[in-house]
Amino acid sequence: METNPIALDESEEGVVVVLVEGEHDIYTAPTLRERLEEALGRGGGVVVDLTGATFMDSSILGALLDARRRAQEAGTGFVVYVDADVEPGVQRILDITGLVPVLPVVNGRDDALAAVRETQDPPAAASPG
């Protein structure tokens, strides 16, 4: 029984959703890094759902930023999302660190999936023009 689970949801075509629920800090950051690694390894886009997170600190931001960098290097879409019910503390760390330019945070699952699929479009497909 995990109080603060991190799960992979692979029900979406070509995208892995990483569900982060509960409190996350330096203690669970290594698990998050593993799950993100796993999600990136699938080859499709990666969406991180922070809607169910009740706490996150800078160790978690660090894990997300590293994953985002690796996704970009691999040409993979990577998007984080929350929704209107997100815990104030989670929204707060995203707001005050001004990370949004480097870590795209969108509202809701649908927008997140759309955004990641857009980035995901292999630029190679458009090149023979």
Partner: protein, 158 residues
């Protein structure tokens, strides 16, 4: 170190202790009926200070298994909650482990109404003192914006 703390916590400086401190703080905030937004800031700032103890304070120790201590004092007065996070480590200016994002101290500054980081006299080690008003006149994140600490988000490779 707070002279007569209300609650004193002491534990080995390990990652799993940070959540214990955070939840004890939440228990104290419950009794004080602290505003949820301010509690969220307290939790984050105190977490960052404890994480620094876990990550940086004892990196000079030969024995990986044996960790030093993480001590936390909580004191509520009429206007504010004061938290002291203490270690007996190598101090701020020591090599102190590989820097992470470098967001810890800037976040503490942005989320508390007053803070101080200092080397402890005597035994050595570091102490971070943070004060959180129950009623704010200004958002501390506006008074001490993270952007003005010199911290910048890692550059986008594009």
């Amino acid at each position: 170190m707070i002279e007569r703390p209300e609650v004193r916590l002491s534990m080995p400086a390990r990652a799993e202790g940070v959540g214990v401190v955070r939840q004890a703080l939440a228990g104290m905030a419950d009794a004080l009926a602290i505003d949820p937004g301010i509690l969220a800031d307290m939790k984050m700032a105190v977490t960052e200070a404890c994480t620094n103890v876990v990550v940086h304070a004892y990196t000079d120790r030969e024995d990986e298994g044996a960790s030093g201590t993480l001590d936390v004092d909580l004191l509520a007065d009429e206007a504010a909650l004061t938290v002291a996070v203490r270690d007996e480590g190598s101090g701020l200016d020591s090599p102190g482990g590989k820097p992470a994002l470098g967001l810890g101290l800037p976040l503490i500054a942005a989320l508390s109404d007053e803070f101080e980081v200092r080397d402890r006299d005597g035994d050595g080690g570091t102490e971070v003192l943070m004060r959180f008003l129950y009623t704010r006149e200004q958002d501390p994140a506006e008074a001490h914006p993270i952007g003005e600490t010199g911290w910048e988000p890692p550059v986008d490779p594009e």
